[in-house]
Amino acid sequence: MSIELNKNTSRSPLSQRIQPMGIPGLEITDKLVTVTIDDKEVTVPSGTTILEVAKQIGIRIPTLCYHEDLCVAGVCRICVVEVEGQRTLQTACAYPVTEPITVRTHTRKVRQARRHILDLMLSKHYGECYACFRNNNCELQALAKEYGVDFFRFGHPEKPRFKVDRSSHSLVRDMDKCILCRRCIRTCIDLQEVGVLEVDKRSDQSKVITFGDKPLGEVVCINCGQCINRCPTGALRANDPTEEVWAAIDDPTKHVVIQTAPSPRAGIGECFGLEPGHPLTFELNTALRECGFDKIFDTNFSADLTIIEEGTELLLRLHKALVEKKAVALPQFTSCSPGWVKYLEHFYPEYIPNLSSAKSPQQMFGAVIKTYYAQLNKIDPKDIVTVALMPCSAKKFECNRPEMCDSGWKDVDYGLTTREMAQMISEAGIDLPAMPKSDFDDPFGTATGSGVIFGATGGVMEAALRTVIELVCGIKVEDLFEHADIIPVRGFEGIRFLELPIKKVGPVPDLLKNLIPDWKWLEGATLKVAAAHGTANAKLVMEDIKAGGRCSECHFIEFMACPGGCLGGGGQPIPTSPSIRAARAKAIYSEDASYEIRKSHENPAVVKLYTEFLTDGPCGHISHKLLHTGYTPRGKYIV
């Protein structure tokens, strides 16, 4: 179920906003018009852009500033075409067809203009392709090849003009490679509604800057990395720790363990030329062993752990509110998306009490490895290096939060993105898709389908519901939802709601007996939950809560900073698009369906952890020390 929250929170210019239907003022209508492109005739609904029409009939028009996820800018001008009767060339991406027109896509003027535009971009684009992480995956480079650039017509910079900004734990900005397509700006201001980036100055002095041109590490950037995924060149990248990871692997005194999250496994094949939607989970295990990692664990284990902790926390909050009648912050917000957490800390610090204090799966895993796992295997935690393979750039910031040292050591030493992992694997000479399959290592090898679906928006909610329904109602989820697939919280709708009446309650399971005596107080209640993805949608939810709307009546809300959830994370393979994200989601849900155990509370490794180590149960003292955290009200004001 979804609703439209009737509140426009966008701060981007009216003319630069994503419109549900094409270009503002010229919406796609039922009226049909005939377009002739390169002598091919086609009939399309009025308002369709030339670029869309061309795509439909298989005519390629190059683009740079255009991106499927973003509002139209029409600034790079590479997609210019000749429209009969027009004095000037027109941009295919921004020209809505409203009357019959004849278009030519590769006349002399068009070819000359495109070549000049490329030459002009290259005259400012400092750096060499072979010394760039986007080599072979760069839109500018690809176009230079397509248009036969074999010399720099208008010169090429010999010296850098800008200092590379490495101030952020998550992102690196190299403005010498920027071609001013402004995709990052539109991503930040319009898609994500964070608004860290804008253009400064005019003409050839113009430059993408942060507020006051401050280092990225000092502004309200939430590290979501969506800008990286949409940058056509190497101007934006994640802060890459592969050298340190290799050094740890090469050091014989170090025990290097890696945890892999579901989304990178669903996406990494794209870095090796596979179509999106081919999960390589078990091939990856073999490849990582080949690379030299000592142990390979599944983040799903700690995802299940998160569900237990976060779910218990929710039940305790509800108990406090309904039975003890004490003031308690509700709805409870999920805290596994570090981009979302930092967004809340900056933009809605007054709602920090609503954030679940449970750490994210990445951080829980780090803390468990450097304590329980170290004891179990008699390894000195100082010799353990924990690496996390994540689809995320914000995870790099998260593992560097000063408070994330509850094990007595840095819980997670390095966060790697999917792209960086692919780089390491290819550096090791491994052809990932061709690797034989192998399993995860014990003792955290066993995982459930609930952990897997954390990767997709709505996944945390679905996993939590599977567990809460069973623990509270004492019934099987399958009795309510076929195959335990909670379809209403799935999909890519910006905000999704689910109301779940608790008709009957069961006995309190052993795990929670010392916390809550019975469930009677929940009988007849209706659990209201929601899931939102992308911070623009998160903002809608937050504003609705502030206004006392429907979202404020929810008990539990899942927030993911990235559109699509983790599978669309800022560390995932480039490019991204709605169809790529949909393919990754499909891969994730099919993996979920393939698991024998699909509910977090049934994960034997988790059950064992509570018996052997976290002996005072979920939200107990030990778990509070290791698996829970606090947050920093940061505010929007930059000093």
Binding site: Q112, L180, S203
Partner: protein, 396 residues
């Protein structure tokens, strides 16, 4: 020497309010038909038919429509709007009000050039007077249901904000950058509402046409460029200032009137206009021949044409909004080319490449700025080849 004498101009002979009163007795359609009959085209330089713009805006159904007066007079060598605002503000407001009646707008905005801030309080006073006189506000001139008021908004000195969509962005509080067209402001303008953006002078001619009749205006000028036009004349001539001439006047005739004969070239239309060499002084100032928003810069025989081109290119390099690639980077390359020519280091091959680049800029830039910024460079390079080629470094 300022030789502007506004007392003999047409604007001085039309009494403010007269045209407005007459127009408000007409239906909106009749007003637009009258403008159609006069052949009035945009006086800002682009020459878009005023009646068509109004007709398009009138056709859109919306409770909120806007009339915007573009007083961001920023074209180098243009200062006629300043004179109009100073001496004929009431006529201009009459024109805006007639425009509002024609399209069904209830709000007007003057976008006043940042450098004209000193005129703000004067214009505010004028607006207050008009409200007192019932010429603005609720039920203008007692016409039930016709509400119209005007507010003044300041530009901040950017040339690009004279481009109508950049102007609207600026009005909305954004960075002044042109939008993609279509949609056009007549359909999706200020805050998404239908908006007509007309030049100060365009609005000022409207009450004159209403008073003196469309035929009077239509009979002056050429078939496709009717009526009178205000000119800002500067440069190497005897008389500088603002003049009123009929459209279709030849450059030679114009030069004679301003004591500028003997010039080697005339830059018509400001920096974005074209450089006309002496051999073409027989050409006419008209939208179909040599268009201009009013700027006439006379270039005397002693001027170095490369310096002239350099001056214009420096201007554009400064004023490009930086949004689209051809304009952002192209202007810099053209200016570099001029510097190379000055040093005698520009090969013919590279010069040809730069001319092609100029063509690309004209064709592929997003707005009128980039589309016209190479004009001066291209016309000087092609028309004054002998003068600019073959320089050596020592000759400088």
């Amino acid at each position: 020497m300022r030789t502007t004498d506004t007392s003999k101009m047409t604007f001085s002979r039309v009494s403010p309010g007269e045209g407005l009163k007459k127009a408000l007795k007409m239906t909106p359609e009749e007003i637009i038909d009258l403008i159609t009959a006069s052949g009035l085209k945009g006086r800002g330089g682009a020459g878009f038919p005023t009646d068509l713009k109004w007709k398009l805006a009138a056709a859109v159904k919306d409770d909120l429509k806007y009339v915007v007066c573009n007083a961001d007079e920023g074209e180098p060598g243009t200062f006629k709007d300043r004179v109009i605002l100073t001496d004929f503000a009431d006529l201009m407001f009459d024109g805006m009000t007639i425009g509002a009646r024609a399209i069904g707008a209830c709000k007007g905005i003057i976008y006043l050039r940042g450098e004209y801030a000193y005129l703000r309080s004067f214009l505010k006073g004028k607006l207050a007077e008009r409200r007192n006189d019932g010429l603005l506000g609720k039920n203008v001139l007692g016409i039930a249901g016709f509400d119209f008021d005007v507010e003044i908004r300041m530009g901040a000195g950017a040339y690009i904000c004279g481009e109508e969509t950049a102007l609207i962005e600026s009005l909305e509080g954004q960075r002044g950058e042109p939008r993609n067209r279509p949609p056009f402001p007549v359909n999706t303008g200020f805050m998404g509402h239908p908006t007509i953006v007309n030049n100060v002078e365009t609005f000022t001619w409207v009450p004159c046409i209403v008073t003196k009749g469309a035929k009077w205006f239509f009979d002056i000028g050429t078939e496709r460029s009717t009526g009178l036009k205000m000119f800002s004349v500067s440069g190497d001539c005897g008389k500088h200032g603002v003049f009123e001439f009929p459209m279709g006047i030849t450059i030679q005739e114009l030069l004679e009137k301003v004591d500028g004969t003997g010039a080697k070239a005339v830059q018509a239309g400001g920096a974005s206009g074209r450089c006309i060499p002496a051999c073409s002084f027989g050409r006419t100032i008209a939208f179909e021949d040599v268009p201009t928003g009013g700027s006439i810069i006379v270039i005397g025989p002693d001027r170095d044409m490369l310096k002239v081109a350099e001056n214009f290119m420096e201007f554009f390099l400064d004023e490009s909004c930086g949004q689209c690639t051809p304009c952002r980077e192209g202007n810099a390359k053209l200016l570099e080319g001029i510097k190379l020519l000055q040093q005698g280091r520009c090969s013919m091959k590279y010069l040809r490449e730069l001319c092609k680049l100029g063509e690309t800029m004209q064709l592929a830039s997003k707005c009128g700025l980039g589309q016209s910024s190479p004009n001066a460079f291209l016309s000087i390079v092609t028309k004054f080849k002998d003068e600019i080629m073959g320089r050596t470094e020592t000759a400088l």
